[in-house]
Amino acid sequence: MIPSDHFTRFYNEVFKFLESQGEAALQAYWLAISENQDRHTLDLFREKGLAGMRDYWEHIRIEENCDLDLELFEDRLELRMNACPSLGKVMDNDATAMDRYCDHCAGWIGPIMDKLGYHLVYDVIDRKKPQCFMQIFKDPEQALAAEKKAKLLMGWPGRAKN
């Protein structure tokens, strides 16, 4: 058993192989992971909207031992990751870290938001630091405005224009 604690280091090895196969290979994998995540998110997000998303990431905050702040507004959800355990473990690793490790998060979350008609703005800020800022909007115009403020904006497979 690869312990669940070490999944991200395994994930990192998978990313390194897929990156060697090209961008389409990475994107196809993120989509597969996104579909895997449907079972944990879609019904909750459809039923409770932004509040359901807040509940999901609150559950993740606890189970994955994240240092993050979640703030729910009428028109958006904001998640500010202060210390990401996923990238943190990949950096604290005897194997080398994949340079674009952070890209997978928008890679799986974005397609779910596209399915549901929400608008994701994912600012990784700096791929070498375990922190990021995610916003999910109801209104595409607000998302477009937020994108302009991002330092390192992430895309995802089949990205719908905000």
Binding site: S4, D5, F7, F10, F17, H40, E64, D94, A95
Partner: protein
């Protein structure tokens, strides 16, 4: 076979446990085998065994299986496995009666990849490759296995 020490494991996580990662491992195994074949999946597990777990491998190469035993105890305890470990002069046997990874995937997806346990079999092989021990993994049932660390016969 074991040199005891008080040092913490190289990876010594505490806190809460996110069991759903095992579902993502299952999805990953199916994805890689479907698109690239089982040989590629095996190579990725070998990299996990040799590079991610370089510290456990270093101990094994030096003739000390204690770090792997410590790793088993720490992570099987964290995930609530039903297991025991028997240690004697020539071999160490880990018997897993209830693998938390396998059973969690079974619970959340209803089916587990036929290759799910390759993560154990192939990673164990990579950990031991070229060293003084063999590590054999026998699957004894759904979510159950026996992992045996044994001294390789001395070359004459």
């Amino acid at each position: 076979m074991i040199t005891a020490d008080d040092k913490p494991l190289r990876y010594n996580e505490g806190g809460n446990v996110h069991m759903d990662f095992h579902g993502a491992t299952d999805t990953t195994i199916e994805f890689i085998i479907k698109h690239y074949g089982i040989g590629v999946m095996d190579k990725i597990f070998a990299r996990v065994g040799k590079e991610v777990y370089a510290d456990i491998r270093r101990h094994l190469m030096a003739g000390n299986a204690g770090e792997l035993v410590k790793h088993w105890r720490h992570f099987f305890d964290r995930e609530g496995a039903d297991y025991d470990i028997e240690i004697d002069d020539d071999r160490i046997v880990l018997t897993v009666r209830h693998c938390p990874a396998y059973h969690h995937v079974q619970k959340i997806t209803g089916q587990v990849s036929d290759h799910f346990c390759d993560q154990t079999i192939k990673t164990n092989q990579a950990l031991a490759e070229g060293g003084p021990f063999s590590i054999e993994t026998e699957i004894t049932g759904p979510g159950a296995c026996r992992q045996i660390i044994a001294k390789r016969p001395a070359r004459s």
